[in-house]
Symmetry: C2
Subunit: 336 residues, 2 copies
């Protein structure tokens, strides 16, 4: 578990690092079986100022009569997924896209003549090193669409069943963060409604959101495809056309489309600046709000990485957001 | 309460009848204050086969061990709004659009030189008689966008506060259907999650959905605008561009985007065929499902109208959907 440049699927890892503005969707933690120590709602968080601040915030906004009281219906919490609720090195949805692409090449070998399939077939690392965010979304368009919604869901379920992290050997569920699962549960126990807002595609995360996080599909916001209703099958065709990208400046809009309210609690992570507008937007709430930014500084237990421009941590400072330093704030990292 | 061609705002009424494929969003019934007779979950429904069928369905799918049992998380119910949860003669959102247009003309009299403002300023009934669905959405684009989300919400709240039905003199809340409020409550009491899926714009209905129906904003699906996040205000600008129209064949796609599951209970009404694909889609559920189509046949207590091509009632017959004949199935119509 040292750094991310490890052995076997080096290619994939490099690819994923290149997608600096692409986020994904998936995490796992069986919410029902997590033990919570009596009296401590966040047992996997180390005692310290951050934990105190989280608990003080929740107590303040849920105490009737308090000046900062928030009615239950307005207690909206939004969490990013990749790097916030589960590990993102590598991005799990990119691995899924590669797997779908490989299947497509098997069915139609001629595909291997054109990009990005050519690079996948030839394991051409240099192609992915240069890939832009646009290129990544193009890969999603070519692999995640042109099929029925049912087909897509079956593919995603199959992928998760077989998934093992390329270097850590963990299942997708085992890559979810225990402290975050506790935080989600703690918020829900205090009348918050918890949502995921991911830059990845919404249906991919919805495959596992309920099982891993206790978050039902209707509480998962993500990048979406255009659908066409098909009379012939009484079903939906996924068109190779993106309707909405819910990353970076697209997160506030995606939240409004789905929820219709500003979050009062928002949590993201540093890597690409993908979450800074969601946290900022939450800060515009008429209620007392809370912003949390996960800093990946734990090379020993997870990964250590930072943004080229450091914007997420810079904004955290500028706008007084709370920062989770994994190394010191989390007693454990992955769900057990 | 005879028919819809009544006195004062004849112009508006005619306009609205012309929007045969446009649906809207709004209804009202204080869910908390509705009295429900002990033992009868649907006291405003006349005793008869339909009421029996609804209750039998709910009992069947909520009884553990029953072959037709549906886990609570999959008990998804979707309701159209206009003509299904509240009266749609005239369409309340069109009245809102006219009001916004009139305000715009006041601010900028030059607008009155171009359509559709010209027709509104001149009360040119013939213009609206010929208006198509596209024309109606164009009117929405011109009146519902180009402002911040906060501004829009303030406009909508102000509209509802002052609203009186042009011929009936009722508030918007008083135009909601008592039997449907009871049905929503009954479904929720049995573990269903109730959603609105309207062809109107989602934020308009969200203004009142919680207060009138007990349905929070995140459970309202509707036609949506593209948003732009504005750094300068930390808010959203409503662009004059529609992202998704959730009417007719757009309803299944809108439901998938928002919920990620097929409804097992779907309810719409005849007028434009706007709900037939939602009901059909629901019928493709892997679970036992229930479809309900409201037939407006009650000229004395509400309105009597039918579709030129009768497709909603034809499909109800073809696909064995249940039909609510307001005249005979409902003991009372409007909420008290």
């Amino acid at each position: 578990m040292k750094t991310f440049l490890l052995k076997p699927q080096l290619l994939l890892l490099l690819v994923l690092l290149a997608f600096s503005s692409c986020r994904q969707d998936n995490t796992q933690v069986e919410t029902k079986t997590v033990a919570v120590a009596a009296g401590d709602p966040l047992p996997s968080w180390n005692d310290g100022q951050l934990k105190k601040d989280i608990i003080a915030y929740v107590e303040k906004v849920t105490t009737e009569g308090s000046a900062d009281f928030i009615p239950a219906g307005d207690r909206i919490a939004t969490f990013d997924n990749d790097g916030t609720l589960w590990a993102e090195q590598p991005a799990i949805q990119a691995l899924f896209a590669f797997e779908l692409a490989a299947k497509m090449i098997q069915k139609d070998p001629a595909l291997a003549k054109k990009q990005p399939f050519k690079a996948i077939a030839e394991k051409d690392k240099s192609y992915f090193d240069k890939m832009t965010a646009k290129g990544f979304f193009d890969l999603l368009l070519q692999t995640h669409a042109g099929m029925s919604q049912e087909q897509f869901e079956a593919e995603a379920r199959e992928f998760f069943k077989a998934f093992k992290h390329p270097s850590l050997g963990l299942t997708a569920k085992q890559l979810t963060y225990q402290p975050q699962i506790e935080l989600l549960q703690y918020l829900r126990a205090n009348g918050f409604t918890t949502f995921i807002c991911t830059g990845g595609t919404r249906e991919f995360v919805r495959t596992i959101s309920d099982e891993y996080y206790g978050i039902p599909p209707q509480q998962v916001i993500g990048t979406s495809f255009v659908y066409t209703y098909m009379d012939s099958t009484n079903g939906l065709m996924r068109e190779p056309k993106i309707m909405e990208i819910t990353d970076e400046k697209g997160k506030p809009g995606g939240i409004q489309q789905q929820i219709g309210k500003r979050p009062v609690f928002a949590c993201g992570n540093e890597r690409s600046g993908g979450d800074i507008y969601m946290l900022r937007y939450s800060q515009g709430s008429k209620y007392l709000s809370f912003q949390l930014m996960v800093n990946h500084d734990d090379a020993a237990r997870e990964f250590a990485y930072s943004e080229p421009n450091n914007i997420s941590l810079d904004w955290a400072k500028k706008y007084s957001w709370h920062v989770v330093n994994m190394k010191t704030d989390w007693k454990t990292v992955f769900v057990k």
